[in-house]
C-alpha cells in the first residue's frame, strides 16, 4: 500500500468517526427533547385546558409534528448519513477540516491530496514536486494524532442532558403514574374524554392479606380534593357486597375498620359518584389447634390406669414419671409442630395431615405450649400456655402396732410383731432394724429383710420375730424399729421409719422378783377383800337380826343393804381382776419356763377357785335381795337376806381357802425360785471355773471377775428368796415343807465363808491369779452344789410327802374296793341260790353295793385326779363293774335270777381287776425310785430323751455340710445312728412302763418306730430332707407327750362310746345382739355420753344402759 492510500484510509476512518459522533450527539438531543416533552406533558393537560378537545388535538398534532421533525433531524438523518453516506464529505474537505485543527498543517494536507489527485495530469517535474510535497506532508502528519480532531465533548454533554432528563421523567412517571398514564392517554387519544383527574383515590393498604378473624383498617383520601363523603364497598364471592360508610378523621383521610374479617374478596371506595379502583382483600388462616386430647399414663409401679382429661384441656396434674400423650388436630396441614416446655427440651410432634401426636415423660412441673407453622411459614398466634402440675408420690408411713410399746422378752425369745404401713402405691421392702445393747454399750446391729412386698396402699404385716439367733443374754436390750420402702421407681424408693421400741430380756432374778411382788400384792388384796367381806357379813347379820325384831326396813337400813350389795359387787369384780392379774403372772412364768408342773397345776387350781368364788348363786342372791327391797315384801326380804348371808359365808370360806392356797403356793414357789437360783449359780460357777483355767489373758480374767460379781448378786437374791421362804414356812405350820434342808441351805447361803470365797475369787480373777482362782473356784463350787442339793432334797421331800398322801388314797381305795368285791361275790352267790320272791330284797342290796361303788369311785377319783399314777384302766374296770351292777338290778326286776347272777359275777371281776390296777399303780409309784413322784420320773426321762433327740437332730443337720470329708461323715453318721438306736430302746422302755397311758401321752410306740427308721436312714447315710423332717416330727411328738401329761381331765367319759339319740330343744332364734350385746351397749353408751346432753340426762342414759347390760348378763348366764 502506498503512502497515499494509507493516508486516505486514515482520513476516511477519521471522517466516519466524526460523523458517528455527530449522529450520536443528535440522537442524545432527540432523547433529551422527548424526555423533556414527556416530563412536561401532564402540564399540558392541566385543567381546564385538557377538557378542550381542540386543544387536545393541537397538543397531540404539535407533539406529533415536533416528534417527526426531531426524529428526522436528530435521529433518522444522522443515522442515514452514518450508514449510507460514508464518503461524504470528500477526503480533501475532511483533510481541510482536520488541517484546520492543526496549525502546522492547515490546508497542506488538503492541498497534497489535490496535487496527488491531479498528478496524472502533470508533467513529470510537477509530478515530482507534487510527490515531494505529498511526502513532506505525509511526513508531517505521520507523527500527528489526527484522531484528536474528533471531539466528543458535545456528545458527553448531550448524553448527560438526555440521561438527566430521562431520569427525572421516569421518576415523575413512577411517582405519578396515573398522571402520566392519563397524559399519555390524552396525547395518543385526543378524541377521548380526559380522566377525572381530580378524583385520584389514595387508598391504604390497597391490595392486602390479613389473618382470618383479625381487623383491617382501610384509610382513603382523594388527591387534591376533600370529598364530602366516602363509602367502602367489599365484594365477596358469589356477588355478595357489603357497604360501610367511612368516617373522616379531622382533616385527614377517611377510615373504616373491618372487624373480624372472615372471607376473602375485593374492595373499592366510592365518593361523589366516583369509584376507586378495586383492591384485593385476601383472608388467610393461621395454623391453630382445632382439638387437643391429652392422655396420662402414670408410672408402671403405681398400677394406676390411664387417665384421660377432658378434651381440649391441657392442664393436668400427674405423678412424676408419668407419660403424657398428646393428640392434636389442627385447622390446616402444618409443616412443623412441636411442644415448647418451660423446663424441658422441645418435643417434636409427629405430623400426619392435620393430626399431630407426641409423647413426653414428665418429671417436674412444666408450662408448655404448642407451636405450629404452616407451609406458608405462618405460625400459630398466641398459643395457650398450659400447666402440668406434679402430684408428689407421698412418703410411706409405718408403725409397729403390736406390741407398740417397750416390753420384756420371755424365754422363747420370740415376739409377734404387727406392722402397719401406708403408702399411696405400695411397697417394695420392709426391713427390721435392730441393735443389741449389753451393759449400755451397743454390741451389734442387724438388718433383717422381711419378705413383704405389696402393691396395696396399706400393709398389715404379721411377723413372728425369733431372737434366738441374736444370742441374747439376760438384761440385754434390743432397740428396734422397722423401715418401709415404697415402690417409687421413678425418684427411687422412699423410706419411712417407725418409732423405736425396746425389748429387754429380763434375768431370772427379775422375773422371780416381779412374780413375788405380784403374789404379795395379790395376798394383800385378798386379805383386804376378806376383811371387807367380814365387815359386810357383820352388817348383813345385824340388819337381819334387826329385821326379825322389826320387819320394817327404814331408809337407813335399806341404804345399808344397798351399800353392802354394792360393796359385795365390787369385791366380786376385784376378785375377777385379781384372777386376771394372777393369770398374767402365771403366763409369764410359764413362758419363761420357771414353773414346775406341780406348781403350775396348783396355780390352775387357784385360778379355778378364784373363778368359782364369784358364784352365780351369789349374784342371784344379790339380785333377789334387791328385788325384795324394791317390793317391800317382808317375807321375801327375810328369805333374800338369809340367802345372801349364806352365800356370803360360802364366799368367805372360799376366800380363806384361796388365801391359804396362795400362801402355800408362795412358799412352794419360793422354794422353786431358790432352787433355780442355786442351779443357775452352780452352772455359772462351773463356766467361770472352766474359763478361768482356759482363758489366761488379763482382759479375759477381768471379764470373768465381772461374771463373779454377778454371782454375788445372785447370792443376794438367793438369800432373800430363802428368807422369804422361811417366813412363809413360819406362817404356815401345816405346810409339808422340810425345814431342815431349807435351814441348811440358808445357813450356807448366808455364811461368811461363801461371801469371802466369792470376794476372793473376784480378786484372784482381777489379779489374773489362775492358781488362786482354781482353788477358790473349787471351794465355791462345792458350797453352791451343797446349797443346790439341800434345796433339791427339800423339794423332793415335799413331793414325797404329797406322794405319800396319794399312796394312802390309793391304798384306801383298793381296800374299799376289795370289801365291795367280797360283798358282790356273796351277793352273786345268794342270787344264784335264791327264789324269785327274794329278788326285790337282793335288788336293794345290789343297789347298796352300787351306791357304795360310786361313792368309793368318786372319792378315789377326787383324791387321785391330779395323779399321774391313777391308771385309766382301773377307772374303766370300775365303770364296767357299775354297768354290770345296773344290769344285775334290771334283771332282778325282770325276775331273771340267772342272768342277774351272771352280771353280778362280771361286776365282781371288774372290781377285782380295778384293785389289781390300783396295786400295780402303787407298785409303779414305789418303783419310780428316789422318792420322786411318777410324774416327775416320767418328766425327767422324757426330758432326757427329748434333749438327746434335739442333739441328734442338730448334729444330723450339721452333717449336711458339703465340705465334710466322706470318711469323717461316715463315722459321725454311724455314731448318730447308734445314739438314735439307744434312744429308741429308752423310748420302748418308757412305753412298757407308761404305755397304758397312751390316751394321755399319745402313741409312744409310733415315736419308737419313727426312731428306728431314722436310725436306719443314718446307717445308710441318708441325711436328706425326709430324715430331717422325721427327726423334727419325733422331737415334736416327744415334746407333745411331755406336755400332755399335764392334762388333768381324766375320766371314764373320755371313752368314745357311740352316742344315743336324744331329742334336743331348739333354742328358737338367735338373740338379737348375737352375743355381742355388751360391747355394743358399751359403744352405744359411749356414743350417747359424747353428745351434749345435760348432766342429769347423761345420768339417766347411763342408768338405762346399765339396766340393759344387767339384763343381757342375766340372759347370758345360761349360755356361757
Amino acid at each position: 500500500m502506498t503512502a497515499l492510500e494509507k493516508l486516505k484510509k486514515r482520513l476516511a476512518r477519521i471522517r466516519f468517526r466524526t460523523r458517528a459522533v455527530h449522529g450520536a450527539e443528535k440522537m442524545a438531543l432527540f432523547i433529551s427533547a422527548i424526555a423533556a416533552a414527556v416530563l412536561v406533558l401532564p402540564l399540558l393537560y392541566a385543567a381546564p385546558l385538557r377538557d378542550d378537545v381542540v386543544y387536545r388535538w393541537l397538543v397531540s398534532l404539535s407533539a406529533a409534528g415536533l416528534f417527526c421533525w426531531l426524529g428526522y433531524h436528530w435521529f433518522l438523518k444522522p443515522l442515514w448519513q452514518c450508514v449510507f453516506r460514508r464518503n461524504t464529505p470528500s477526503l480533501e474537505k475532511s483533510a481541510l477540516q482536520i488541517g484546520a485543527a492543526f496549525p502546522q498543517i492547515r490546508d497542506r494536507l488538503s492541498n497534497a491530496l489535490q496535487l496527488m489527485r491531479d498528478m496524472p495530469k502533470m508533467d513529470e517535474a510537477a509530478s515530482a514536486l507534487a510527490q515531494k510535497e505529498f511526502e513532506r506532508v505525509h511526513q508531517a502528519v505521520a507523527g500527528l494524532a489526527l484522531e484528536k480532531y474528533i471531539s466528543t465533548e458535545q456528545l458527553r454533554r448531550n448524553t448527560a442532558t438526555a440521561a438527566g432528563l430521562l431520569i427525572v421523567t421516569l421518576s415523575f412517571a413512577f411517582i405519578f403514574p396515573n398522571t402520566y398514564r392519563e397524559a399519555l392517554r390524552q396525547l395518543l387519544t385526543p378524541y377521548s374524554r380526559p380522566a377525572q383527574a381530580e378524583y385520584v383515590f389514595r387508598v391504604s393498604p390497597g391490595d392486602v392479606r390479613i389473618v382470618r378473624g383479625t381487623s383491617l383498617e382501610i384509610s382513603a383520601s382523594v388527591a387534591d380534593v376533600q370529598p364530602r363523603s366516602m363509602s367502602l364497598h367489599v365484594l365477596y364471592g358469589g356477588g355478595f357486597e357489603e357497604t360501610f360508610s367511612m368516617q373522616p378523621v379531622a382533616g385527614g383521610p377517611f377510615r373504616y375498620t373491618l372487624e373480624n374479617v372472615q372471607e376473602s374478596g375485593r374492595y373499592f371506595l366510592k365518593s361523589d359518584d366516583r369509584s376507586s379502583e378495586s383492591f384485593q382483600l385476601e383472608v388467610v388462616e393461621l395454623p391453630d389447634i382445632r382439638q387437643m386430647q391429652l392422655r396420662v399414663r402414670p408410672p408402671a409401679y403405681t398400677k394406676l390406669p390411664e387417665m384421660k382429661p377432658e378434651p381440649d384441656v391441657g392442664l393436668v396434674s400427674v405423678l412424676p414419671g408419668s407419660d403424657v400423650f398428646f393428640s392434636v388436630l389442627t385447622n390446616k396441614p402444618v409443616r412443623e409442630a412441636k411442644l415448647l416446655f418451660s423446663d424441658h427440651d422441645p418435643v417434636i410432634l409427629k405430623i400426619s395431615g392435620e393430626a399431630l401426636t407426641g409423647k413426653v415423660q414428665i418429671r417436674s412441673a412444666q408450662q408448655y405450649s404448642v407451636y405450629l407453622k404452616d407451609s406458608a411459614g405462618l405460625e400459630n398466634a398466641n398459643p395457650i400456655l398450659w400447666q402440668i402440675d406434679i402430684i408428689p408420690d407421698q412418703r410411706p408411713v409405718v408403725e409397729i402396732v403390736r406390741p407398740g410399746r417397750d416390753q420384756d422378752l420371755d424365754e422363747s425369745r420370740r415376739i409377734s410383731l404387727l406392722i402397719s404401713g401406708e403408702d399411696d402405691f405400695g411397697f417394695t421392702r420392709l426391713d427390721l432394724v435392730y441393735s443389741v445393747y449389753r451393759s449400755g454399750e451397743k454390741e451389734r446391729s442387724f438388718r433383717e429383710r422381711l419378705n413383704y412386698v405389696s402393691r396395696e396402699a396399706t400393709l398389715q404385716a404379721e411377723y413372728l420375730w425369733d431372737l434366738q439367733p441374736a444370742g441374747l443374754e439376760p438384761e440385754d436390750v434390743v432397740v428396734y424399729h422397722v423401715e418401709l420402702f415404697d415402690n417409687d421407681m421413678i425418684s427411687g424408693p422412699k423410706k419411712a421409719s417407725s418409732r423405736e421400741y425396746r425389748l429387754r430380756l429380763p434375768s431370772l432374778m427379775e422375773i422371780f422378783a416381779e412374780a413375788g411382788e405380784q403374789q404379795e400384792r395379790s395376798l394383800e388384796n385378798l386379805d383386804e377383800l376378806a376383811k371387807n367381806t367380814e365387815e359386810i357379813r357383820e352388817d348383813v347379820q345385824e340388819i337381819l337380826q334387826e329385821f326379825r325384831r322389826n320387819p320394817e326396813l327404814d331408809w337407813e337400813d335399806k341404804q345399808a343393804l344397798r351399800d353392802a350389795s354394792g360393796k359385795q359387787e365390787k369385791i366380786l369384780n376385784d376378785m375377777q381382776t385379781l384372777g386376771e392379774q394372777l393369770d398374767e403372772m402365771v403366763d409369764r412364768m410359764e413362758n419363761n419356763e420357771l414353773l414346775s408342773p406341780e406348781i403350775l397345776q396348783k396355780y390352775q387350781e387357784l385360778q379355778e377357785l378364784i373363778d368359782e368364788i364369784a358364784t352365780p348363786e351369789m349374784r342371784e342372791a344379790m339380785r333377789k335381795l334387791q328385788e325384795a327391797m324394791e317390793k317391800l315384801d317382808p317375807e321375801n326380804i327375810e328369805k333374800a337376806l338369809e340367802a345372801f348371808q349364806q352365800e356370803q359365808e360360802q364366799f368367805a370360806r372360799n376366800l380363806e381357802r384361796t388365801i391359804n392356797l396362795l400362801k402355800q403356793l408362795q412358799a412352794e414357789q419360793r422354794l422353786e425360785e431358790s432352787l433355780r437360783i442355786a442351779e443357775e449359780m452352780v452352772q455359772k460357777q462351773e463356766q467361770i471355773n472352766d474359763k478361768a483355767q482356759s482363758e489366761s489373758s488379763p482382759e479375759q480374767q477381768s471379764a470373768l471377775a465381772d461374771e463373779e460379781m454377778k454371782q454375788m448378786k445372785r447370792l443376794e437374791q438367793l438369800q432373800q428368796a430363802l428368807k422369804s421362804l422361811q417366813e412363809k414356812i413360819a406362817e404356815l405350820p401345816q405346810i409339808r415343807l422340810p425345814r431342815e434342808q431349807v435351814n441348811t441351805a440358808q445357813e450356807t447361803a448366808e455364811s461368811q465363808e461363801l461371801m469371802e470365797n466369792l470376794q476372793e475369787m473376784t480378786q484372784a480373777l482381777d489379779r489374773a491369779d489362775q492358781e488362786q482362782a482354781a482353788q477358790t473356784g473349787q471351794q465355791l463350787m462345792q458350797q453352791m452344789q451343797q446349797m443346790q442339793q439341800n434345796l433339791a432334797q427339800a423339794r423332793e421331800q415335799m413331793q414325797q410327802n404329797q406322794q405319800a398322801e396319794l399312796r394312802q388314797a390309793l391304798q384306801r381305795g383298793a381296800r374299799d374296793l376289795l370289801r365291795l368285791s367280797r360283798r358282790q361275790e356273796a351277793l352273786a352267790r345268794k342270787t344264784a341260790q335264791s327264789e324269785a320272791t327274794q329278788f326285790r330284797d337282793l335288788a336293794d342290796q345290789q343297789q347298796d353295793v352300787l351306791s357304795a361303788l360310786l361313792r368309793t369311785g368318786e372319792k378315789l377319783l377326787k383324791k387321785t385326779q391330779e395323779s399321774f399314777f391313777m391308771p385309766g384302766e382301773a377307772v374303766q374296770k370300775l365303770d364296767a363293774a357299775a354297768t354290770n351292777m345296773r344290769s344285775a338290778i334290771d334283771q332282778l326286776g325282770n325276775r331273771q335270777g340267772a342272768r342277774s347272777a351272771g352280771h353280778q359275777g362280771k361286776a365282781m371281776q371288774g372290781l377285782n381287776a380295778a384293785v389289781a390296777e390300783l396295786r400295780q399303780a402303787m407298785r409303779n409309784m414305789n418303783g419310780s425310785g428316789s422318792g420322786s413322784s411318777g410324774m416327775q420320773d416320767f418328766f425327767r426321762r422324757m426330758m432326757g430323751i427329748s434333749q438327746a433327740q434335739e442333739g441328734i437332730n442338730q448334729q444330723t443337720q450339721g452333717l449336711n455340710n458339703p465340705g465334710m470329708m466322706s470318711m469323717e461323715r461316715q463315722a459321725a453318721l454311724a455314731r448318730l445312728a447308734a445314739r438314735q438306736e439307744a434312744l429308741r430302746r429308752a423310748m420302748q422302755e418308757l412305753q412298757k412302763q407308761y404305755g397304758g397311758r397312751g390316751d394321755v401321752l399319745g402313741d409312744l410306740g409310733n415315736i419308737a418306730r419313727e426312731m428306728q427308721e431314722v436310725a436306719q436312714n443314718l446307717r445308710q447315710q441318708k441325711t436328706g430332707r425326709q430324715t430331717i423332717e422325721r427327726q423334727r416330727r419325733i422331737l415334736s411328738r416327744l415334746l407333745d407327750a411331755q406336755k400332755s401329761v399335764q392334762k388333768r381331765e381324766f375320766s371314764k367319759k373320755r371313752r368314745a362310746e357311740t352316742g344315743k339319740q336324744y331329742r334336743a330343744l331348739d333354742p328358737g332364734r338367735l338373740p338379737a345382739d348375737l352375743g355381742e350385746r355388751r360391747s355394743r351397749l358399751r359403744q352405744d353408751l359411749l356414743r350417747a355420753l359424747k353428745e351434749n346432753y345435760t348432766r342429769d340426762y347423761k345420768k339417766l342414759i347411763r342408768s338405762y344402759f346399765e339396766a340393759l347390760s344387767r339384763e343381757a348378763q342375766q340372759e347370758g348366764t345360761g349360755a356361757q
Binding site: R1054, D1066, L1074
Partner: protein, 223 residues
Amino acid sequence: MKKYSLLCILLLLPVCQLSAQHAAPGSRFTIARLKYSGGGDWYNDPSIIPNMLRFLNENTNLRCGTDEARVEVTDNALFSYPVLFITGHGRIVFSQQEVERLRNYLLNGGFLYADDDYGMDASFRKMMKKVFPDKKFVDLPFSHPLFSMLYPFPAGVPKIHEHDGGPGKTQALFHEGRLIVLYTQNTNISDGWADPEVHQDPEPVRRAALQFGANIILFALAQ
C-alpha cells in the same frame, strides 16, 4: 327348705372355689389343725381331717387337698388358712400374744371350728373369754343355715359320741353378724370323721358326722 339349700349351694359354690383357691400355701383348700400349748392333745385322731377332705371332694364341688395343715397361732402362715380346727381332750393355753393374734385372725375373716373331744370345754371357754372378753357363746337355732347348708339336720347337731349324755350343743361366737367361732360340745362331731376302726362307730353315725362337717366347712367358706 330343700329348695333353699340347693339354691344356697348353687350360689355358694363359686365362692367356695374362690376361697379354696386362696387357701395358700397349698393350691387347694385344706383345713388347718390348730396346735396349742397347755398339754391338750391337739394332734389326736390324725385320720379325721383327711377323711373330711375326702368327703368334701367326693360329695361337693369344692376341690380340696388331701392332707391337713398344722399351724400354731403364732405361725406366719396362720392367715393363709380360712378355716382352723381345734380339738382335744385337755387343757388349752394361749399366751397373751397368741390371744391377740387369734383375735386378729378371727376378726379379719378367719373361722375357727372347735370340737370338744371331751375335756377341753372349760379351758377352751376360758381361752375364748380371753380372746373375746365382750362376746359370749350363743346356741344356734335349728333354723340356722348351718343345719341345712347341704345336708338337712332339722333336729340340730347329730350325736356322735355319748360323753355326758343328753343332746349335743352347737354354739357360736359372732362378730358384726359373722359367725367366727363354732363350737360343738358333748357330741364330738370330728370323732365321727375318723377311720371306721378307730372308734367303731356305725356307718350312719359316721356319715352324719361327715355330712355335718361338710355343712360347717361350706358355711365357713360361704358366709
